[in-house]
Symmetry: C2
Subunit: 253 residues, 2 copies
C-alpha cells in the first residue's frame, strides 16, 4: 500500500512527521506537503502559476517533497505522477486543532482529503484537539488503526473521513464514535486600524468558535472523550430543500 | 432588502456589473469584490494578514468596494459591518463558466455563497455557461427572479442555491429545473518544464472537464437548455457511509 501523507501546516510541522512515521508500519509512505502554512485555505486548484517541488525533510528528518502549492495541489501533484508510483490512499494531518462543523469547508486538511476523494482515492483528514503533549502520538495511533480498517473494508466512493482525536489517557483504549458534522458557531469580529499614513485596514479576528454538542455530533463525541470519525460525502445536494424549491414555480420575466 | 453582490473574478468583471445592475430593481445593492481574480480559490478565511478595502468601480461604473481578500472574505467583511447596514441576502457571480459537480468545492463563487449561509443569510451563486453574448444578461435576469422568490418564500437555513444558466433563446422563456449535483470528471494532467537554470517546475493543466448527465443533475438540465438550480447543504455528513463504518468495530492498539 502506497500512502500519501500531506497537511496544511507545512512540511516542517510536527503533526505531519508523527503521522508519516506511524503509518510506515502499514506500507510505503510518501510525503508531499506545502512549503508554508496554508490554514483556512480552502479547496484550491493552482492552474495560474507553476508549482515547484523541492526535496525537504519532515520534523522527524524523513524525506519529503515541499511545494509552493496548496494542500490540495500536493494531492493533485502526487496523483498526476510526481512520485513515480500510484498512490492508494491519502491521509492529511495531523492538524493541531479540531476541525469540526463548518470548519470542514475551510480546512486545508479536509480539502486535501476531498481532492483525493475526487480523484477516486480513499482519504482521511486527521486533527488532534490538542497538538501539545501526547496529542500527535495519540492521533497518529488512531490514524494507523483507521487506515488498516480502510485497507480491509474499503471506503464508499467520494467519501472522506474527518477524524478528530481528543487527549487520551495513557492507560485507556481509544473509543471511536462514528458521528455527524455538528454545528460550530464562529465568534468572528472585525478590528479596524489605520496605517501610519491614515489609510484603514481590517483584521478578521475573534474568540474561539463554540460548538452545539447535539447527540451524535463530532463535538459531542469529543466532549465524551471519544475519537470522532465523521464520514463526509462530496454530493452537497440538499434534497429536502430541492423538494421545497420545486413547489415555488418561478417565472423568469 | 439589502443585497450584497460579490464574485471571484474581481471587481472589474463584466458578470459582476450585470448582476449588480439587474438586482437594483429589488432593493439596495452593495458590491464588495476582490481586487483581482480568485478563480478556484476555495473557501478562505483570511486571518493572517490585514485586509484593505478601497473604493472602486464596477465595469458599469457603479460604486463598489475592492479588497485584497478572497471572495469569502468579501462576505465576512460585509456581514461584520463595513457597509454600515446589515445585509439580507448575498448573490455571487456571474461566473463566466458553469460551476457543476465537484466544481462547487473549488469555486470561489460558490464558497462566497457558502460563507453567507454560515453567517445565516440566504445566498446564491450564479454562473453563465457562456459569459459571451447574452450570457450575463440572461443569467442576471434569472438571478433577479430567484432573489424575488427567495424574498417571498425564504430559503431553509444553511442552504446555498447553485445556479447555472445556459444560453437562452431571445424569444423563449427561461425554464428552471431544480437539480442534484452531478458528477464532473476532470481531465487534469501535469506538464513538467525546466527553468533556464535547469530546475523543474510543474503546471497543472488539462482538457475541459466532462459531465455525466444523469437524469435530474445539473449537467442534464443544461443539456436540455434549462436553468439548473441546485440547492446545496452545508452538512456534508455521508449518512449511508456512517452506517457502514459503525459495523467496522475498529480497535486502536
Amino acid at each position: 500500500m502506497h500512502i500519501l501523507v500531506t497537511n496544511d501546516d507545512g512540511v516542517a510541522a510536527p503533526g505531519l512527521a508523527a503521522l508519516a512515521e506511524t503509518l510506515r508500519d502499514l506500507g510505503q509512505v510518501s510525503v508531499v506537503a506545502p512549503d508554508r502554512n496554508w490554514s483556512a485555505s480552502g479547496h484550491v486548484k493552482t492552474m495560474h502559476k507553476p508549482l515547484r517541488l523541492e526535496p525537504a525533510r519532515t520534523a522527524a528528518g524523513a524525506e519529503a517533497l515541499a511545494t509552493n502549492g496548496a494542500p490540495s495541489d500536493c494531492v493533485a501533484l502526487a496523483v498526476l505522477g510526481v512520485l513515480g508510483s500510484p498512490v492508494d490512499l491519502v491521509v492529511a494531518g495531523i492538524n493541531p486543532r479540531a476541525n469540526l462543523g463548518h470548519d470542514v469547508t475551510y480546512s486545508g486538511t479536509v480539502t486535501a482529503a476531498m481532492e483525493a476523494a475526487i480523484w477516486g482515492l480513499p482519504a482521511m483528514a486527521v486533527s488532534a484537539v490538542d497538538g501539545e503533549g501526547h496529542g500527535y502520538h495519540d492521533a497518529a495511533r488512531v490514524a494507523r488503526a483507521l487506515v488498516g480498517a480502510i485497507a480491509r473494508h474499503g471506503l464508499p466512493p467520494m467519501t472522506v473521513l474527518n477524524v478528530n482525536v481528543p487527549a487520551l489517557a495513557a492507560d485507556q483504549p481509544a473509543v471511536i464514535a462514528v458521528t455527524t458534522q455538528g454545528l460550530r458557531t464562529y465568534a468572528d469580529r472585525l478590528v479596524r486600524r489605520e496605517d501610519p499614513s491614515g489609510r484603514a485596514y481590517y483584521w478578521i479576528t475573534g474568540d474561539p468558535p463554540s460548538d452545539t454538542p447535539e447527540p451524535g455530533t463530532d463535538a459531542d463525541a469529543l466532549l465524551a472523550g471519544k475519537v470522532s470519525v465523521t464520514p463526509l460525502g462530496l454530493d452537497l445536494t440538499h434534497r429536502a430543500a430541492a423538494e421545497l424549491l420545486r413547489a415555488w414555480r418561478i417565472d423568469v420575466p
